[in-house]
């Protein structure tokens, strides 16, 4: 029986394999920031309420604050540092869908996962996914417009 308060986790972050010895009680948020230096993953509440710590686990958005780092074992974690698609980033800039920028990585990651699962998401679907994320600066409409711009572009290309 393992009696230690630490465990080895073996996972990928943005494609890079890591083997880390982590404290069982540490959240994935903590490890990504303090051990891996992935500071784009933002703490906003550490209670699963605000979505600013959103990361993708095997392309599914989860709140990194509501997950132990040990649970990431053998999974793929993506943060915005690892997001290759830049359409969303450009659209957020062009649509003024960011002001202070603190919520932005979370929104973009969530939107990215949404569009990869549901490229033709309607407004209801967008709401369903992105209600996970709080923004205090914009009016949200800009964010929705940014996503819809990308959808149109994708449609145009496909």
């Amino acid at each position: 029986m393992d009696k230690g308060y630490f465990n080895l986790v073996d996972f990928r972050a943005n494609g890079v394999p890591y083997q880390l010895f982590v404290r069982n009680a540490d959240t994935l948020l903590h490890i990504l920031r303090e051990e891996l230096g992935l500071m784009s993953v933002k703490p906003g509440c550490e209670n699963g309420d605000c979505g600013s710590c959103t990361v993708l686990m095997d392309n599914v958005p989860v709140n990194a604050c509501h997950m132990l780092a040990v649970e990431a074992d053998s999974h793929h974690i993506t943060t915005i540092e690892g997001l290759e698609d830049t359409k969303l980033q450009e659209a957020f800039i062009a649509n003024h869908a960011l002001q202070c920028g603190y919520c932005t990585p979370g929104f973009i990651l969530n939107a990215h996962a949404l569009l990869s699962h549901h490229p033709d998401a309607d407004e209801q679907k967008i709401n369903e996914w992105l209600e996970s994320n709080i923004c205090r600066c914009t009016g949200y409409q800009e964010i929705k417009e940014a996503i819809q711009t990308v959808q149109k572009e994708l449609e145009g290309n496909g």
């Binding site: 393992d2 599914v60 997950m67 649970e71 996970s132």
Partner: protein, 279 residues
């Protein structure tokens, strides 16, 4: 940030999970079963719980996935609420309820067992199991047992320490029954319910489940009898049902008892009218 340390285990089988639990108990250590962890992490951060060990159930095959068989649907205890909304189409009431709990990000982690056994008053995902008389597969030191959810979780009870939920089994025909569902919050959709009402109608009989009204989710035979009493008008049935709640209406900062009464009465009437129209 969680200030204390705990041991972490990821058993591969129910048997192993129980064994770990017992071994720890013998050493005087308190373990908790861990699924989505969304509640355990929050409560540990707030200092409300301080387990010595967590036993992560997600590696146990029996607790994972769902099976759609001839007469039964089996839902693993570790299945997430998002899995349910995305996949379990033969249980539409469950899908609806799951979709209105927390946020999508959270639902990607919240497990059905974690919600049913949550320390909060709400435990909304229990309601569809109550209404369908589903079976809970519970494992404990004495082995694996199938128990009726209504009896097992009556009056807000949860599992005895050391027992764990493996699966839920629901009769397919019941799962597909005609349903009504509405959740009312203080204001934003993402919040705890001040009143959740769901109901199903099978063989001409309505059965209703409630959350947010009392300190636990429930269905109640007496209330069901009232709701089906066609001698009474719809609004009389609603009034009467409210008069027979198993507990005083909750009165807290989310909503006053008076307002909850108002909301619930409207929900009951809406539900009764809905079924009246359908039939």
């Amino acid at each position: 940030m969680i200030s204390f340390d705990f041991l972490y285990f990821r058993p591969k089988s129910v048997h192993e999970a129980l064994q770990i639990y017992q071994d720890l108990s013998h050493e005087g250590l308190q373990a908790v079963f861990y699924n989505g962890g969304t509640e355990i992490i929050s409560r540990a951060r707030a200092g409300e719980v301080q387990p010595d060990a967590v036993i992560d159930m997600k590696g146990i095959a029996d607790c994972q996935g769902y099976r759609d068989e001839a007469e039964w649907i089996t839902i693993g205890a570790a299945v997430t609420l998002s899995n349910i909304t995305d996949e379990i189409n033969c249980f539409p009431l469950m899908q609806r309820i799951a979709k209105e709990i927390a946020t999508r990000n959270a639902r990607n982690k919240i497990s059905i067992a974690g919600n049913v056994l949550s320390s909060l008053n709400y435990r909304e995902a229990l309601l569809p199991f109550l209404l369908t008389d589903s079976v809970a597969v519970v494992a404990g030191p004495a082995g694996i047992k199938e128990e009726n959810t209504a009896a097992l979780f009556a009056n807000g009870s949860r599992l005895e320490p050391g027992k764990l939920l493996v699966q839920f089994k629901t009769e397919k025909e019941r799962a597909g029954a005609n349903y009504f569902f509405k959740k009312k919050t203080k204001q934003s959709a993402v919040n705890y319910p001040i009143a959740t009402l769901c109901a199903m109608k099978r063989e001409g009989k309505i059965t209703a489940g409630f959350s947010g009204i009392c300190t636990f989710p429930f269905k109640d035979a007496k209330i069901d009898r009232i709701l089906n009493d066609h001698a009474l008008t719809i609004s009389a049935r609603a009034e009467e049902a409210i008069a027979h709640l198993p507990e005083k209406m909750v009165n807290d900062f989310h909503a006053s008892a008076g307002y909850r009464h108002f909301v619930l009465e409207q929900l009951l009437i809406e539900m009764l009218e809905h079924f009246e129209e359908v039939s």
